[in-house]
Amino acid sequence: MLAPEPALAVSNLVKHYPGGIAVDGISFAIEPGSIIGLLGGNGAGKTTTIAMIMGLVAPTSGTVRILGHDMPRERYHILHRMNFESPYVEMPHRLTVRQNLTVFARLYGVVDREACIAALAEELDLTELLDRPTGKLSAGQKTRVSLAKALINAPEVLLLDEPTASLDPDTADWVRTHLEHYTAERRATMLLASHNMNEVERLCDRVIMMKRGVIVDDDTPARLLARYGRNNLEEVFLDVARGRGEAVREAVR
């Protein structure tokens, strides 16, 4: 029997900019229903990788396949089945939360919009905020609105770029819990770029570690901790970021 096609497969992906190489020949595949963390310091290539997966940035070479379709060639066959959330991409401030969600529901072709928005608002504790301008909300509330937008089409593939950046611990924990429930119940696939090691350790089935545009390690959090002989992913991250990865792994062996 053939193995099921990965929800997301990246093969020999390269991105050259005039100033240098952002991503240098990375390959990985993600099984449906799994949560994968993309870890790396600033400039490691995480955001560029996610942008290439979404079709926002054209790869210099290599391929991206999502749900069996080539991105970007077949983008309009898959864009309505995926979504994205990042604190660095905002929604129009003057529009109310309801107006913003209505616009995106219509863009994604959600038929029963009002019911969908009401249910999402209840899940994400936004009901009281629906008629307030998005720009008047706190950072935590805006993140919940962005998350509502990212879930409006019930995506099968969800891409998140530092979803809890600048949130207080309570709100961040709330967001992580919701993402856990969503992926478990929906069996959605999630790729999460983050600097927050606790978040990655808690949510992710597998962690891809990037440095200077290449993948330097790729395994489950437990196996990474064992391989580096560390107690938490933050220590593993520092080993990789400071170029001690190979030496530490040798010492552990």
Binding site: G55, V57, L79, M91
Partner: protein
């Protein structure tokens, strides 16, 4: 159109339209709604649409009245001023309406959200075209009524000629708007000034207030490459000689179609370049 119900967390499900390849009027409607929500939430935005066309109309209207007192040639020249400024505003405000709606996405850092949604470039452009007409109408309808009240100039009395003038001017404004949107995609807000000023190159070249015959021959050749030149010449023929030049409108229309096609190609080329250079994610510089 087919739909599929997708179960999700909690009791929620999303019923999604599954016709990814087709042009979607629903998505065009979504974008028009987005800009309409913004416009109606901000009275300064609405005021701005009416304010400057009104100022322009009064200034040129009083000048026309003054010049008209001299009789003879100055009066004949002057009797086209209000018509000229109002047609110029259709051209300029049509492009601004298109470009400002596009700029709103950059100001609000929403472009990436749109670019990863199923919204296609033709749908986006269609929504911007509709918004340019809505914004133009909000500004120009009251101004045209004021021109009747204060100066006895009835733009609407031009009838079918007005429709031909309007069609050609709005097509040119869209062609320029599409081109500028491409520039903004590729170069971000660094190209913002182009949205506000590029049209002004048309002001002397398309002979808004004077006939093409005053231009040096080499400049007249360039002027006749631009569709608004035909419209302003046609307007003068109508207002001074009471002749509707359908031939000029047909030529303008043909050039406009060419310009729109070229602008769409330029937009798509800029979009590809923006994806190559990663500017869709940044958008602000």
């Amino acid at each position: 159109m087919t739909t599929a119900r997708i179960p999700v967390a909690g009791n929620r499900s999303a019923k999604i339209e599954r016709d990814p390849s087709a042009f979607s009027f629903a998505r065009v409607g979504a974008m028009v709604a987005r800009y309409w929500y913004l416009l109606r939430s901000s009275w300064p935005r609405v005021f701005d649409l009416i304010y400057w066309p009104t100022v322009q109309m009064f200034m040129w209207g009083f000048l026309q009245t003054y010049v008209g007192q001299f009789g003879g040639l100055p009066a004949r020249v002057g009797q086209t001023f209000i018509g000229a400024v109002m047609l110029w505003d259709i051209l300029f405000r049509g492009q601004l309406g298109f470009s400002i709606s596009f700029l709103e996405e950059m100001y609000s850092r929403n472009l990436a959200n749109l670019m990863i949604s199923p919204l296609k470039p033709p749908e986006f452009i269609s929504a911007l075209m509709i918004m340019s007409i809505i914004r133009l109408s909000i500004g120009m309808v009251p101004v045209s009524l004021l021109a009747i009240v204060f100066f006895g100039f009835n733009l609407w009395a031009l009838g079918l000629a007005l429709a031909a003038f309007f069609l050609n001017l709005i097509l040119t404004s869209w062609a320029l708007g599409i081109f500028i949107a491409g520039l903004l995609l590729r170069h971000g807000l660094g190209a913002e000034n182009m949205a506000w000023t590029l049209m002004f190159i048309f002001l002397p070249l398309t002979c808004v207030y004077y006939p093409v015959s005053v231009l040096p021959p080499w400049l007249a050749v360039i002027s006749w490459m631009l569709p608004p030149t035909y419209v302003f010449e046609g307007m003068r023929a109508l207002l001074t000689a009471h002749v509707f030049r359908a031939d000029l409108m047909a030529q303008a229309f043909a050039i406009n179609i060419t310009l729109i096609v070229l602008a769409i190609f330029a937009f798509l080329a800029y979009l590809r370049a923006a994806r190559r250079h990663g500017t869709l994610l940044q958008g602000s510089e």
